[in-house]
Structures are given as C-alpha cells and as structure tokens.
Point group: C2
Chain length 353, copies 2
C-alpha cells in the first residue's frame, strides 16, 4: 500500500524540516517547492526520496546556511553568480529569476552559477520561463562524475542534464528535462529496488563492460549507449554542458565535482548555467506561438508506428503526472516513507499522513 500525501502539505513539511535544519525561512520554502516539484512531475528519483541526502549535508555543515549569493561579473546580457556554497535550490532559483529579468530587458541572457550545490530537477528552472509570455528557458548543471566517455574505462563526466521549456499558444508547451547520459542514475536504483535487469547499454560495471545487472552497474553511458550507435554524440553534448557549468562558470570541471556520494563532506563545487531568450526580439510572438502550435499539434496527432499507442511531445507524460498528482497527492514509496518518518521524528515534526 503506497501512501499519498497532498502536494501542499508535503511542501509545508519539507519546508519546516529545511528550516529546522538551519536554512532561512525563504530558502527553506524555495527549496521545498522545488524538491517537491520533482515528485509532482513524476521525477520520483529527484524529489522527497532525496530529502535525507539534503538534510544530511545541512546537518554536517557541508552547506553554507547563510551564503552571500552575488553576481561577480555582469554585462547587459550575461551574469556570473557565486553561490558561496549555499543550498542549490535557492541559488539556482535566484540565478534563473535574474536571468529572466535580464532577458526581458535585453532579449537574451546567459547566467552561470559557481560554488553551488545539487539543484534538484533541471526542469524546474527552465519552466520558470513559462510564467511570462514569450520566453524560452534553458537550464543545465554538472554533478559528480558517473559517465564514461566512449572507449574509456573511467567516469570523467556527470550525467550533465539539460532542461528547456518553449512556450506554445493553444497547445501545451514543449518541456524537456533529462540527463545527456542514456539514463540517469535513478533508473538504476529503480531497477535495483524492483530486482529487474536493465537493458544492455544503460550502464557499465566496475571494469567498464556493459552490464544488464543493476547491482553490477557502476557507471553510466553517454546518450547513444554504444560507439556504433554514436555515443560520441552524447559525450560531446555532455562536454558542452560541462564546460558551460564548470569552466565557464568558474568552478571545477566534472571530475572534481563532489558532494553526491560523500554526502557529508564539504562544498561540492557544483555549477549551473541558465539561458533565457525573449522570442519577440526575433519575430512577433503571435507568429511564433502559431507555428509552435502547428508543430506540436502535428506531432501529438501523428500516426503511431505499428504497435505503438501514440506519439508524444517532450513534457507530455510529466504534464499528465502533474495533473494526477496535484489532484490525488504524491505517492510515497514505503522505503521513502520510512526515511521521511525518521527525519520527522528527528526534527519533532509531524509527517502529514
């Protein structure tokens, strides 16, 4: 029996925990909103299942509770932020908010963030662009190394996720949020939990060989999975994201990003990059929206391949999950529930069941 918790109550619970763990009320509220947004959209691996990870880092003093988040270099359409080892969620939120403001003024903005921490789902920040008319949002981050370049043996790159959100008129927007590795590590964890084999190509074992055993899996492959299916392209796209979030942002590059597997040890050095584009500096917004509608409508109503049910636009499944969960609440896996109850006890907070 899987318990469900209403979204708002869950957010309030998480915010209270974060505040008692030392964050300011505002940072706790932003962090809770974004953490739970992962569950709302169906990214269960990135939501409350990871609350204990963030709490452990806060408790261990690995994260700066009162950071001085600031712009260290700025032009009319670029800005480089230093998050001062603050919590990833509010740092990224403030960076994207400013990025959108600047794009509104000058048409485009690229914002980087250095010295941040894990920021949850990349998609949250990209979809902030959809709150105002005619804005395209892109969000990227690095993380600890997990992905092995083609023909290599060791992990040098993170899963280097990228998310983007593109508005439409009558059609639902186009929203993608995913790792540039074949799968994110969360998919391996799910296979482990269900004791199911994984498709060949998702992961490599400790010796760098492809494996179907999720328990033997240690590293991930770049999108493309195999050299003959062109994994060098996933590798290249990951490198672009790594450079924007690492070298350009002014933080360490992927190999030196920490803090995900050694939860309680020091700053992670995580970096992010955000891009906002104001459509109407290129063409009238109505024209753009009409042509987005035409494309998205044709794709959504495209003839399915033999045996397939329907053709999807990126973001469609997440939108459907969101509708269902906003109405029915967030399902909490029994293992996750146990950890939430433990955290609740530790902070003397009632988990709203």
């Amino acid at each position: 029996m899987t318990v469900r918790i209403p979204v708002e109550e869950l957010q309030r619970f998480v915010a209270t925990i974060f505040e008692r763990a030392g964050l300011t009320g505002e940072d706790a509220a932003i962090s809770a909103e974004i953490l739970v947004a992962a569950d709302v959209r169906g990214f269960d691996s990135h939501g409350i299942a990871r609350l204990d990870y963030y709490v452990r880092r806060l408790e261990a003093g690995a994260i700066n509770l009162r950071p001085h988040f600031r712009a260290i270099a700025e032009t009319s359409s670029t800005v480089a932020f230093d998050a001062d080892n603050g919590m990833g969620f509010p740092s990224a939120y403030r960076a994207m908010r400013r990025c959108l403001e600047k794009a509104r003024e000058s048409g485009i903005c690229l914002a980087t963030v250095r010295r941040s921490n894990h920021y949850g789902i990349a998609g949250y920040y990209a979809t902030m662009a959809l709150r105002e008319p005619g804005m395209i949002g892109v969000s990227m981050t690095n993380a600890t190394p997990l992905v092995v370049p083609p023909h290599a043996q060791d992990a040098y790159l993170s899963t280097a996720p990228i998310a983007f959100a593109i508005p439409a008129g009558k059609e639902r927007p186009l929203v993608f949020d995913g790792a540039t590795s074949t799968v994110a590590w969360g998919k391996i964890e799910i296979a482990r939990r269900n004791r199911e084999p994984i498709p060949l190509g998702w992961a490599l074992d400790a010796e760098g060989r492809p494996t179907t055993d999720p328990f033997a899996a240690r590293y991930l492959t770049p999108l493309g999975a195999f050299p003959e299916l062109r994994s060098h392209k996933g590798y290249a796209l990951a490198l672009l994201i790594e450079v924007l979030c690492g070298q350009l942002a002014g933080g360490p590059w992927a190999k030196y990003v920490g803090g995900s597997r050694s939860e309680t040890i020091g700053p992670s050095g995580t970096g992010h990059a955000f891009l906002a584009i104001r459509v109407d500096v290129f063409r009238p917004l109505e024209e753009f929206l009409a042509e987005m509608d035409d494309m998205l409508g044709q794709l959504r109503r495209a003839k399915p391949a033999e045996g397939a049910e329907r053709v999807l636009v990126p973001g469609d499944l997440e939108f459907e999950t969101e509708q269902e969960r906003l109405a029915q609440g967030i399902p909490v896996h029994p293992e996750v529930l146990e950890r939430l109850l433990e955290i609740a006890r530790g902070y003397d907070v009632v988990l709203p069941l």
Copy 2:
C-alpha cells in the same frame, strides 16, 4: 585508384564553377572555401561530393543570385537575419561573422537566419569563433525532414545538426560537428556505395521498421536509436534546434523545409541559428583555458577500455584528417570525380588533376 587534389586548387576550381553558375565573386569564394572545408575535415558527404547539388539549384534559379541579406530585428545581443533565399554558405558566414562581432561587444549574441539554403557543415561556422581569443561558437541548422520521432511512423524532423567549438590553451580545442540523429544520411549513402549492412538502430524502412539494409533505409532515428535506449532524448534535442532555426528564426518548421531532395524547385526555407559567447565576461580567460587544458588533457590521456586503442576528444579525428589532407590533398572518390569532370566540361573549366 583515388585521385587527390590539393586543397587550394580544389577551392579555386569550385569558386570558378560557382561564379560561372551566377554567384558574385565574393559569394563564390566564400562558398568554395566552406564547401571544401568539409572535405578537408573529413566530412566527405558534405563536400565536393555535393557540388552538383548546389550547381543544379543555381542553374535552376532555385537560389537568389543577388539576394538582399539583411538584419530585420536587432538588439545589442541578438539579431535576426533574412537571407532572401541566397546561397546558404555566404548567408551563414555573414551571420556568424556579425554574431561574433556583437558577442565581442556585449558578451554574447544569438543570431538567427531565415530564408537561407543548405549551409554545408555546421562546424565551419562554429570554428570561426576560434579565430579570435576566448570565444565559444555554436552553429545549428534545420534541413528537410528525415528523422522519425519515437513511436511515430513518418519523418517530421531534420537531422538537426549542431556544432560547437570551445577554445583551449595548449591543448587542441574541443570541436563537435554532428547531427542529432543517430547518423547523418551520408552514412547510409556510404553503406550503399560499399554494399554493406548498417547497424540496427540507424535507420527505418518505408514502414517505419528498423532495418539493417541501407537500400531499404528511408528514414533516420533520433540519437539514442531505440525508445529503450532513450531516443526520446535525441528527439527532444532535435526539437530545440528545430525551434531555434525554424520558429524562432521566422522560417518554416522542419516538416516544411524543402530543397534537398527536389534539388531544382524553389526556395528551401532553411533556417540557421548561431551563438557566440565571450569567455572573459564570465571569468578571466587564462583561468578558463587552463581548466580546459586540464580536462582535455586528462580525456586524451585517459586509460582506454579493454580492447580500445585510445580515448578521443570531439574534433580529434577531424583535426588529424585536416593535417593529412592539407599536406596530401583531398582524395576524390571515382564516382565523385566523374561528376566533377562533367561539371567542369559544362562550364569549360579545367579540373586540376
């Protein structure tokens, strides 16, 4: 016996042909330089093998020989160009040149081009950024539809290539140039020429089923190749590129882009997008270059997987090909040679053999 032609002589030959086919001297020279650059870097599918395609379009009046290339909307860090159905190479070249100028002034620039034509290799324009210190260049284009979305039966998207160039200090730069489909159509053509099967996952037959027969291949798959290997990610990345080059640029979206398979019929409506980022508006350039060197050096000297020879950085193979061909000349496939000789005869030009 494969003939080789020195690079400069081949450029001069191509420029003469383009000029006699009606382009201005300047446009002909730019077009020849970029077309032959494909051969120099080893993208044989995009070089002189396609000279007859461009010539046929010029001869048929499908391309405007005296276009009014102009900016139709501009801010300090964005610009939307209309190429007036001119030749793709000079249109894209001028757009990227202006994009780099504007990024030099304001830190970043996103430039779009509408009503252009096939622009050759995406990578040429990205690597223009490497001619000045501390500039990152990105180049994207759409083309005729060839790629089938996951679970669909028909092609809605182009191979939506993206190229980027990122400078380093002592190490060679990081340069990627590739389609966001598993492979470009040129790979199918090569397999046909060699009468060799293709790996399952590259292509679909007329009914949308995966095929290993290059002659049955009609459509391409998005990067990821199969839904279980996450082809929805290649699909999503292609969509982002399509939107920037189509809807944002103000031209048709992928499905309505023409001109590649019906060589002689009217404007193609091809669109491009270019991004230039000036590194030192984010951090001191020397720091960036040192960290790029560290990453690229570690990757190039990474321990290879069992059975693998070495680990590559995107662009390494192309760089090696470039060195070899600048010294030894461009090898011309017998079939291509025949067509070049035919074109040469038609325009009364001597092919430098």
